[in-house]
């Protein structure tokens, strides 16, 4: 394993608030009060450094077959200039990474988190060598840079220099050949915060310049950088799969409530036999949302991932992810519980607390009330 240091970390000379994510030293937070970063994403706009993502280009006649072999979904109907969200599968059908697959016309670009870039590249290369010799796999993790811009008014920051066309960009649609201060980038609408979200792809040597340019142009929108702790909390609140949390704690991908993603007709793929079996029998456990009473101590709840979930003293599961929702002003969690108990509206026990099962997502996003044709940050 080789550890990388994000160019943004070096550029900002961040001495504290960094952590290792997918073998890359990245900012976990930029300010000491996590609520400030959180409010930035939920009320305005935040900029995030996604350097830690793996970026693997796959081209050649067997490119589609190779990627299809390692993801839960089917790329066959993915149009050019469109992205697909998916989950990477291990050979036994477990989730092993989050994936965004871009169809760039001549090639696919796999952007992934939750897996070390070198591990993903080596695995894809090995499978290509053995099963898909017509696929060419290139590791572009170092040569490409990735930034995320999220928030109810992220579209307005982009509109200020891209023009009104960005408002029409549909979910997961790719818009190539854009520029800010002569820094070229490709953009697609995505994100895992539940707010308006966009991912910007540029060359690795332009990443810092693009970061600075976005921070400058976003000043009047009160843009702030956000670290991966805030991104993780937003993922949890909106129930995006997090490979670092619940994804690492389930023993099969269907436990993540992913049945509609499973391709029925792409033939054999990694873990397909195990997944087919579970599709027929049902996953023995699955993830469900849990909230704790609002009076649960904010700073020291006495809760942790791995805690047992009990129903009348019988263990029915464990906590798989945990966070404090500043929107709900409550501790929230994901629990991996016996499927027969995984229904909403039930009270279980975790430690000394009552844990109520709730529907996904946990919160109602402000972006759902913002209409870019009518609204503005300055209204």
């Amino acid at each position: 394993m080789s550890t990388r240091i994000s160019p943004i970390v070096s550029h900002l000379n961040l001495a504290a608030g960094c952590g290792l994510r997918d073998a890359s030293v990245t900012a976990s937070a930029y300010v000491s009060d996590p609520q400030l970063e959180y409010q930035c994403v939920r009320e305005r706009v935040g900029l995030s450094d996604l350097t830690y993502y793996a970026k693997v280009r796959v081209s050649g006649a067997a490119a589609l077959d190779l990627i299809n072999h390692v993801i839960i979904t089917d790329l066959a109907r993915l149009p050019i200039n469109q992205t697909q969200t998916s989950i990477l599968l291990s050979d036994d059908g477990r989730p092993c990474g989050e994936a965004l697959v871009m169809n760039c016309g001549d090639y696919y670009l796999v952007l992934s988190e939750g897996v070390e870039p070198s591990v993903l590249f080596e695995r894809l290369s090995k499978i290509a060598d053995h099963q898909f010799p017509d696929a060419i796999v290139t590791n572009q993790t170092e040569t490409l840079g990735l930034l995320g811009i999220d928030g109810p008014f992220s579209w307005e920051v982009l509109k200020s220099f891209m023009g009104i066309g960005v408002i029409g960009l549909r979910y997961l649609e790719i818009l190539p050949d854009q520029a800010l201060n002569n820094i070229p980038f490709t953009i697609f609408r995505a994100g895992k915060t539940g707010e308006y979200g966009y991912v910007l792809l540029t060359s690795g040597d332009k990443l810092v310049a693009l970061w600075d340019a976005l921070m400058e142009i976003g000043k009047r929108f009160d843009i702030q950088p956000i670290g991966y702790n805030t991104l993780d909390l937003c993922k949890l609140e909106n129930r995006f799969v997090n490979q670092q949390q619940e994804g690492a704690r389930v023993d099969n991908v269907l436990a993540l409530n992913t049945r509609v993603l499973v391709s029925r007709d792409k033939g054999d793929y990694a873990g397909s036999a195990q997944i087919a079996k579970l599709m027929a029998s049902g996953s023995p456990s699955r993830i469900i949302g849990i909230t704790f009473a609002a009076d649960t101590h904010v700073d020291k709840p006495g809760l942790s991932v791995g805690d047992e979930v009990l129903c009348h003293d019988e263990k029915i599961g464990t906590l798989a992810s945990l966070g404090y929702s500043y929107t709900l002003k409550q501790w929230i969690a994901l629990a991996l519980v016996d499927t027969t108990y995984a229904y909403v509206g039930l009270d279980y026990t975790v430690g000394e607390y009552t844990a109520r099962t709730v529907s996904a997502p946990f919160i109602f996003n402000r972006s759902l009330q913002i209409r870019p044709q009518e609204d503005s940050y300055f209204n």
Partner: protein, 93 residues
């Protein structure tokens, strides 16, 4: 499992199944009810429905359960489970 818990679960399972069957039938989805997880998102990822489908969902819920989702109430239409929350809350109201 204690009978009271079982009763709550059965009531919810019944509503969830009806919602899924109605969505499949009305929107011609290529799924069986068992293929749709309760927390499946209706729009964006998940079932990837659109605004036209949203009107069909409102109609389907009204016909199936005799409850009306108010115009613009998108909080009820996030996932299959939020639809079930809305139906159960308004059926007993």
């Amino acid at each position: 499992m204690i009978p009271q818990l079982q009763e709550i679960i059965h009531e919810r399972q019944d509503v969830l199944f009806k919602i899924k069957a109605e969505l499949i039938d009305r929107l011609q989805l290529e799924f069986e009810p068992v293929d749709i997880d309760d927390d499946t998102f209706l729009f964006g990822g998940g079932l990837s429905l659109d605004s036209i489908d949203a009107m069909e969902i409102v109609l389907g819920v009204q016909i199936c359960f005799d409850v009306m989702i108010p115009d613009g109430d998108i909080s009820a239409m996030r996932t299959v489970n939020t639809l079930a929350d809305f139906v159960l809350a308004n059926k007993s109201a």
